[in-house]
């Protein structure tokens, strides 16, 4: 505490003497004491600016705003993809994975990543956000981005509907000490699994899109590392 107060004084002095130091003025503007903080309480040592509302569009290489993601998605999913591509649950239209700003010198462009379960292709659509148009389109098999929440949910459902669900339930009981009674309260994430060594049960993983689930229940992780869910083939396999 004492050390902190000294620091505060040092900055105050600096703001008087260092007339040409950049940023000092902005500190004065932004670093208003935290409302309601009691005297002597620790104050932010740096500015704490109000972020304001989310802008419609970002500046430069800013992350895409939610409005820009929505716009990029709309343009990226062409009528053809809407009709012919399939998502993880087999519904029409590709699985949306992610959208990111393209680092360029020009205007703002987004790259939108989609997965088509009908062809097992990862698709990258480049969208010119200013011009509202699709500028480039690429696709390839055997390439994977992290799973979407929809894919994780779909994988968990496939596992629970599979005979290997008994192993999931055993793992649940072992981790939590109680019987599995339903999905509520599970925290599920997943990582994309690609077969490395020859394992006949999962050799297709890589060309297919496969997930390994990480499930947390009652603060404990379930030991599920040996169960692989093949979303493309809609099957569940056990690593030997």
């Amino acid at each position: 505490m004492r050390q902190y107060r000294k620091w505060g004084w040092g900055l105050g002095i600096a703001s008087v003497t260092a007339v040409i130091a950049f940023g000092v003025a902005s500190w004065q503007v932004n670093a208003a004491p935290t409302p309601g903080a009691s005297p002597g309480a620790e104050q932010p040592r740096v500015s704490d600016p109000d972020p304001g509302p989310e802008p419609t569009a970002g500046t430069g290489n800013d992350a895409l705003t939610s409005a820009e993601v929505e716009k990029a998605r709309e343009i990226a999913v062409t009528p053809e993809l809407k009709e012919k591509a399939k998502d993880a649950s087999g519904a029409a239209g590709p699985e949306f994975l992610s959208a990111d700003i393209v680092d360029t010198d020009g205007g703002r462009r987004a790259e939108v990543y989609l997965y088509d379960y009908a062809t097992n292709n990862l698709i990258k659509q480049v969208v010119d956000l200013g011009g509202s148009k699709l500028t480039d389109s690429y696709s390839a098999a055997g390439l994977h981005l992290p799973a979407s929440a929809h894919e994780v949910d779909t994988a968990l459902d496939l596992l629970l509907a599979d005979p290997l669900a008994s192993e999931f339930k055993d793992a649940y009981a072992k981790a939590t000490g109680s019987q599995f009674a339903g999905k509520d309260g599970l925290k599920t994430t997943a990582h994309v699994f690609k077969a490395q060594a020859a394992d006949p049960a999962v050799a297709q993983c890589g060309e297919h899109r496969c997930l390994r689930l990480i499930v947390e229940a009652k603060g404990r992780y379930l030991d599920l590392g040996h169960l692989i869910i093949d979303l493309s083939g809609r099957t569940v396999a056990r690593l030997s």
Partner: protein, 426 residues
């Protein structure tokens, strides 16, 4: 990369206003360090010794925290000079010694999106929790970046004896870092992406790991360490090979060159060994291996300090376990020509260049380096210990970017030491 001149007018106005310099002589002289981002994604802070760091930040779905357009200025050198175009993680490869498990945490899970933690508890005590998009599919805005100023210990110390007055003068100063960090939860592990921007111009890049040990990876004694009662459960040893992607842009001029320095013994002098230092130019893409007294720097051809020395950034590495069992995590440092679709050091997945899967693919054609990107691998072989439960104390791995001749003197030089530059006339 080349300095972009496409800042929105609004951003430029905000920057000028926040500098608070309109109408002062300094404002007239100093070129405006234009933020390439909105005010809410700008970090601009002045440390107690007068050094100001200014940059843009964002979170990318897979890479997590990205710093763009990093500029530094100081009381002594008030004109902001660009240091980096961007810096971010390029992979975190985690193989277990059991041989049964290997993760590419950035590309199989991602450090952004729902894996990026909203700051809470004491995550950002004493600092400012900044709000921005988590980089996920819904671009949710949350408080995810902690910005803080932290003491870094003694910055310098010099006791100078004045022969004229017969008195000592003590120069002693505490230093500070501007610290930026985000936290990503990947399964049971939680990772801290941290950048420490020092008031002397050094950039320290670190990854911290905490959370919990893997609950499932227990193995035989020769691949693990007994955790828990007796000698029953051996938690698997494993690796964290972190690889960062560093794109320099010194003084906004780009086009840096890469140099390797080696110092070798060279016979004997009258008392000790003589050492000789030589420089090797690295003008083509390639992978490189550390050796005793070997170091690399990225040096500007176009930007010099006031002593007419080329500005450069030196790569400084410390503790580092090489994972030689995977060819892509074996190189200590890799230099590649910048290319948009070469995003990750391993497990790269861009349909635009589908055969470019690892840094080894990137360097295969040995392109001439015009805009070099430096990939720095720092490995940590984690041997679990009882204290890792629970939560696990943070363990860190990283490297430093040391300014070499960025300024003609220590940017923190006190005025009384102004004349001490080079050999004194005796």
């Amino acid at each position: 990369m080349t300095y972009r001149k496409t800042a929105g007018a609004a951003a430029a106005l905000l920057t000028v206003a926040s500098l608070g310099l309109a109408g002062t002589p300094a404002a007239a002289k100093a070129p405006v360090a234009v933020a390439q981002c909105a005010a809410s994604s700008t970090v601009k802070e002045t440390l107690p010794n007068g050094t100001t760091w200014q940059l843009c930040w964002r979170v990318q779905d897979r890479a997590g925290l990205v710093l763009d357009d990093v500029f530094v200025s100081s009381k002594r050198y008030p004109t902001p000079v660009q240091v980096l175009d961007s810096i971010r993680l390029g992979q975190l490869n985690v193989p277990y010694d059991s041989g049964e498990t290997e993760y590419n945490d950035l590309t199989e899970y991602g450090f952004g999106g729902s894996n990026l933690e909203t700051l809470g508890g004491e995550d950002c005590k004493g600092g400012s929790a900044r709000e921005g998009s988590d980089g996920g599919p819904e671009a949710r805005r949350r408080k995810v970046l902690c910005v803080s100023a932290e003491p870094s210990g003694l910055a310098y110390r010099l006791k100078d004896y004045n022969y004229e007055t017969g008195a000592d003068k003590l120069y002693s100063k505490q230093g500070h870092d501007l610290v930026l960090r985000t936290i990503s939860k990947v399964g049971w592990y939680e990772y801290v992406s941290e950048y420490r921007l020092a008031d002397d111009g050094q950039i320290s890049v670190r990854l911290g790991a905490t959370g919990d040990l893997s609950p499932g990876d227990y193995v035989k004694a020769d691949r693990g360490w007994p955790i828990g009662k007796g000698a029953r459960d051996y938690a698997s040893m494993h690796y964290h090979s972190a690889i960062w992607r560093v794109d320099t842009n010194i003084d906004g001029k780009g086009g840096e060159k890469v140099e390797q320095y080696d110092t070798k013994t060279d016979g004997r002098g009258s008392m000790a060994a003589k050492l000789k230092t030589s420089m090797t130019k690295i003008d083509k893409e390639g992978t490189f291996t550390k050796a005793n007294r070997r170091w690399w720097r990225v040096v500007s051809e176009a930007s010099k300090n006031k002593d007419s020395h080329k500005r450069s950034l030196e790569l400084v590495t410390g503790a580092d376990d090489r994972y030689e069992a995977n060819p892509a995590t074996t190189p200590d440092v890799t230099f590649t020509e910048a290319r948009g679709c070469e995003k990750f050091a391993t497990d790269n997945a861009d349909p635009q260049c589908k055969t470019m899967k690892t840094i080894l693919d990137y360097v295969k054609d040995k392109q001439t380096l015009k805009n070099p990107v430096m990939w720095v691998r720092v490995g940590f072989h984690h041997v679990p210990r009882d204290e890792d439960q629970s939560p696990m104390p943070l363990h860190w791995q990283g490297f430093d970017l040391l300014p070499r001749d960025f300024t003609d003197m220590n940017p923190l030089t006190p005025a009384d030491r102004n004349g001490v530059n080079g050999q004194t006339d005796n």
